[in-house]
Subunit: 324 residues, 4 copies
C-alpha cells in the first residue's frame, strides 16, 4: 500500500482530546500537527455524564472563533472498531458508552473515538519520532504499558478495536499477577509500576543495597518514587540501575516478540519511564538484539525515544479526526 | 474497511507455485480459487538454477493453451517487501535470489513472490476457513510452524517482508534451542517436530507409559512417527494424548499472545499436525481461553481448522498473483 | 543410628533463649520439654552489647533459686559449626560475634548457640509434631521462611553451620528478587511477606476482585495484613484463597524438592502463616503430591502442622543446651 | 564430628558388587580401599533369579582362598532403610526383592545392599576425592544423574532409604518430561542424555552451527555420541561448548540448591560426563558461584572431580559392607 490514504492535507484545524484518569487535556491542532492552543481540567471521578460535560466544555472553549473540522478523542480502554463506543474503560465507569454520539450531540462536530495509546502512537507516527517510517510500534511505558501499531501507514485497530494490547503478551508464564487476570504479562515486568516494585523490593529485602534509594525516599521503601529511581540511576547507583536493567530487559524481550510478528521499521519508546532516556533505552536495545530471532539474517528495526512527550495523545487524536 | 480493495474479479486464470523442500507443486487456478490443473516435481536439491528451471517448466506445462494472467510463487524464507527477491531460504541455497526477475525472463509472465506460509494463509483467507472474516491469523503447524496474518483484508508483510514469523515468539525463555539461534521459541514447543520429540522422550524415559507408541513403532523410540502419535491418541492412549496436549497447550498460549497484539476475527489452524483435528484443536482452544488477557471483557476470536489442506499454498499464491 | 545420642534424660532444668528481631524471650524448661517459667524483653535495636546484656539479665532472672544446667540460645543468622559464634545476623548488627563466650562469662553457665529456625525445628522434633519420627523437615513460614532438618535423630548443621537454608532453593529462576541477592528463591514466593505481596498486588491491579480484602483494610492495599487475608480466606473470598493457594503451591513444590534430597519421614509446617491451618496445608499438600518425583513408587512423607507455636524456639534451644 | 564412628579398621577384605544395567562387576577390596582382584559378567536381562545367581557366582569366585568378611552390593533403585530389600529398580525387574537374604543364603556371608550412587559416593568419600572432608555431595553425571550425600561422616539414606535423589529436584517447572513422571527435573537438563539431546537438537535445527559435530558423526544427528561432543568441545567447537555450557549451567544451579539445604564441605563430580573434566567443571563452578544464595556471607563449598572412576561403586560397596 503506497498511497497515503490517511489524509488529503486539510486546512482547517481539528481538536484532540486526551481523557486520562486524573485530567482531561484538549488541544487545537493544525494540519501539520502543531498545537495552537490547549486547555485542561481534572477528570470528574464519580460520574461518567460529567466526563462528557467536561469534554464538551473543553471543545467549546477551543472552538470559539475557530473553524474546527472535527474532534478526536483518545481514551483508555477498549473502543469498538467503528470508533464510536467505549466498550470498557478500566479507570472510568464506562461500559458500552456511546461516546461519539454523545459528544457529537453536544458539540455539533464530527467525532472520532480512539484508544489513548493508539492516539499517542499515531501522533508519534505522523509528526514525531516515526514520521519518516511507514510502519512503527510505539510502546508507551507509563504507570502501565500501552501500545500502538502502525503497518503500511495504517493504524492497526483489530477486528474488535482492541489490537496492540502489547502489555499483555506473556513473558513469564505463571509469574506476577496482572490486572487483566492473567499472570506473567509484559506490563507486570515493564512499566512504571514494575520499576517501583523492583526498587521497593530491593529496599525491603536488601536495605543495605538500596541505601541511596532509601536516603532519597526519607528512609521508607514505600515512599520511593520513579524520580528517586531515575536520579539514583543517573548517579550510577547499582540498585537503581538494576531496576532499569530489569525493566529494560523485559522491554527488549517484548520487542523481539513483536518484531517476529509485525516486522516494523521502527520501535518508539514513549511514556513517563522512557523520559529516563538511555537508562531505559540501553538495556532495552541490548535485550532486543540479544533475543531477536534470526538476527543475523534480517534487518533489525530501529529503536528510538519518542519526541512529542505528553502532547502525543492530543496531536494524534486531532489527526485521527481527519480520517473519518 | 469493507470494500475488497485487493481485486477486481478477474476472468483469466493464474498459476500458483508452492516451492517446498522436497517437491515443487504448481496449479492453474481460476478467479474463484478453484484449481483447474496441477503438476509437481521433486525439488532439485543441489542447484538453485535448477529450481528456477523446474518452476519455469511447470509454468510452461500449465500455460499451454491457456490465457494465463500471472504467476504467484510461494517459497519458504524471507522475501523482500517488493515481493521480488528471496533474501534467505533455510532449505534451499538461495541468498538474495532475484526469483521474480529470473522466472519472468523464462516465462514471459508477470511474477509475484511470497513467503509460502503467507501464501497458504492468503488461500485460507480468500477461499477457505476464513473467507467470511476480514482479519485472520493462519497458523500452519507442520514440521515447523508458519504463520500468515491478514488485517483489514490485507496480508501483513512487514517493513522488510518478514512479518508473521509467529514460530519465533518466545514462550519459554531459556528453554529449548531453536533453529533461529534463540531458545524458547514457540516453534520448539508447537510443531510436528515438537510432537515427535515429546513422544520419543516419553518412549525413552518412560517406556512403560509409552507402550502403545512403541508397539506401533516396532519397539524403537526413534521410529515413532506423527501418524503413530495420532493413531494412538485416537485410541485414547494417555501418552499420545499428553503429546497433543503439550503441543496444543503451547499453541493456545501463542494464540493468546497474538490475540493481544492483533485482535483478529479468527484463528485458522493449518498444516499436517492440524489434520489430527480435535486432538490439537481441543487443547489449543482450552489453553487459548485460559490464557487470553481480559477474556471476560472482550470478544474472543473464533478458532477453526483449515479447509484447503495442501492446496492452500497454490491457491493463495495464484490469487496473490492478481494483486501486483 | 538407633541409639538416642542426644540425651541421657537429665533432671536439671535448662534455659532456652529465643533472640528475635523485636523481642528476646527466654524460658526455664525441664527435661520433658515443659516450660516452667518465661520472661521477655524488647530487643535492643542499636547496640549488640546491649543484646548480650539483655540475654544475661533474662538468664539471671530465670536462674534465681534454680539449679540450671545450661543455656541454649537460638538466633537468626549463620552460626558457626562449633555453635559458638554468630557469623552473620541479618537483623542485628552481629558479625563474627563470639556469643557463647560472652554469655558464658556473664552467666557462669555452659552456653550453646544455634540458628533460631534450627532450635524451633528441634523443639518440634523432640516434643512437638514430629516427636515420633526419627527424621523431619520443619518449615517455619513466618515473615520469611526458615527451616530445620533432622536426619537419623540428629540436627543437620552443615559443614559451616549453615545448612537448612531452605528458603533459598530456587523455584523460579530469574524471578522475584530475594534479600539474599539472588532471584527466584522459595522465600520470595512462600512467606508471610509473599502472602501480603500477592494480596496487595491483586488489590492494586484488580481492586474489584479484591473488594473484600480492601474492605477489611479500610480501602488501602498497603494496609492489608496477614490477618485480613486469613479472615477473608476463611469466609471463602476467592482473592484471599488465591493468595494462600499461591503460597501453598510453592511450598508444596519446595517440599517435593526437599523430599527428593532428604527423604524425611515427616514435614512439619510452623510459623505465623501456618497458623492459618488448612488454608495453607491443603494447597501445600496438593502441590507436594502433584510434584513429588516417582510418587507412585515411594512412600510419601507425612505433612503436619506444628504444635508448639511460638514456644518451639525456647523449648528447642533449651533441649539443645543438654547436648554440648 | 571428628572421630570416625563408621568403622574400626578391619584387617579382612570385603567384596563390593556393582550391579549395572549391562554388566555386574565385583571386586575384592582391602581395608584401605585398594582393589585386590576384580571379575565381571553381563547382566542377565530377563530373569531376576539369574541376577542373584550371577552375583553369587562372582562372590564365590573372588572368595576362593580368601577370608572374606562381608559383601556389599550397590544396585540402581530404591533400597529399603534396612539395606536389605530392593523396593524398586528401574532397569531390572525387581520389586520388593529380598536381595540381602537371597545372596546371604547363597554365599554364607553377611550382605549389605545399598543404592549404587550412594555406594559410589561413599567410595569417593572414604578413599577418593572427598577423603579429607567430613561431608560431601557426590554427583554422578552419567546417562542420568545420581547422587550420594554424606553429612557428619554418615551416609544420608533417608527415612525410607531413598534420599539423595538429586536428579529430581526441579530446575525448570513445566519443562522437559522426566522418566519419573514429572517435568523439569535436574536429570532432564544435566546428564549424558541431556548433553546428547542438546547436541542433536543443534544438529537438527541448525546444521550449519553443528557442522563439526555432524562431521564427526558421519552426517547424522542421531549418531552423535558423547565422545563426539567431548572431542569437538576440546577442539573449541562453539556448538559443542554450548552443549557442555548448558549441562554445566544446570549442574551449578542444582549445586546451589543443594548447598542451601545441606551446606556440604565439598561437591564431587563423578560419572562419565565428568570425565570431560574442565569442560563440565568450569561452567558448573561458574553457575554455582553465580547462583549461590548469600555467597558473600558464607564459606563456599569446594568443587572437585572424582578420582576413582568406575571403581568407586565397588570400593564404596565393599567399605559399606564393614558397617553392618
Amino acid at each position: 500500500m503506497s498511497t497515503l490514504t490517511h489524509r488529503p492535507l486539510p486546512t482547517r484545524p481539528t481538536i484532540g482530546v486526551d481523557v486520562g484518569g486524573t485530567k482531561i487535556a484538549a488541544g487545537l491542532v493544525d494540519g501539520e500537527g502543531t498545537i495552537l492552543a490547549t486547555v485542561r481540567r481534572p477528570t470528574p471521578a464519580r460520574d461518567t455524564a460529567e466526563v462528557v460535560d467536561t469534554i464538551a466544555e473543553l471543545v467549546a472553549e477551543l472552538s470559539e472563533g475557530q473553524d474546527v473540522e472535527a474532534v478526536g478523542i483518545g481514551a483508555a480502554g477498549f473502543i469498538d472498531s467503528a470508533r464510536s463506543t467505549v466498550l470498557f474503560a478500566p479507570n472510568l465507569a464506562w461500559r458500552d458508552e456511546p461516546l461519539k454520539l454523545k459528544v457529537e450531540q453536544r458539540c455539533g462536530l464530527p467525532v472520532v473515538v480512539e484508544n489513548d495509546a493508539n492516539a499517542a502512537a499515531w501522533g508519534e507516527f505522523r509528526f514525531g519520532a516515526a514520521q519518516e517510517a511507514s510502519s512503527a510500534v510505539v510502546i508507551t511505558v507509563g504507570t502501565g504499558i500501552g501500545g500502538g501499531v502502525i503497518l503500511d501507514n495504517q493504524l492497526v485497530r483489530g477486528d474488535h478495536g482492541i489490537a496492540a494490547e502489547i502489555g499483555h503478551i506473556k513473558v513469564d508464564r505463571g509469574g506476577r499477577r496482572c490486572g487483566c487476570g492473567q499472570r506473567g504479562c509484559l506490563e507486570s515486568y515493564c512499566s512504571g509500576r514494575a520499576l517501583l516494585r523492583e526498587a521497593r523490593e530491593i529496599a525491603r529485602t536488601s536495605p543495605h543495597d538500596a541505601a541511596r534509594l532509601l536516603e532519597l525516599a526519607g528512609g521508607s521503601a514505600e515512599k520511593i518514587t520513579g524520580l528517586h529511581v531515575t536520579r539514583a540511576a543517573e548517579e550510577g547507583d547499582p540498585a537503581a540501575l538494576e531496576c532499569f536493567g530489569q525493566v529494560g530487559w523485559w522491554l527488549g524481550n517484548g520487542m523481539a516478540d513483536l518484531a517476529a510478528v509485525l516486522d516494523p521499521a521502527m520501535f518508539v519508546l514513549a511514556g513517563g519511564v522512557s523520559e529516563a532516556g538511555d537508562l531505559l533505552l540501553a538495556p532495552a536495545q541490548a535485550a532486543f538484539k540479544a533475543t531477536l530471532s534470526a538476527a543475523d539474517f534480517r534487518p533489525v528495526a530501529d529503536v528510538r525515544l519518542a519526541t512529542l512527550g505528553n502532547d502525543a495523545g492530543i496531536i494524534g487524536a486531532a489527526d485521527l479526526a481527519r480520517t473519518r
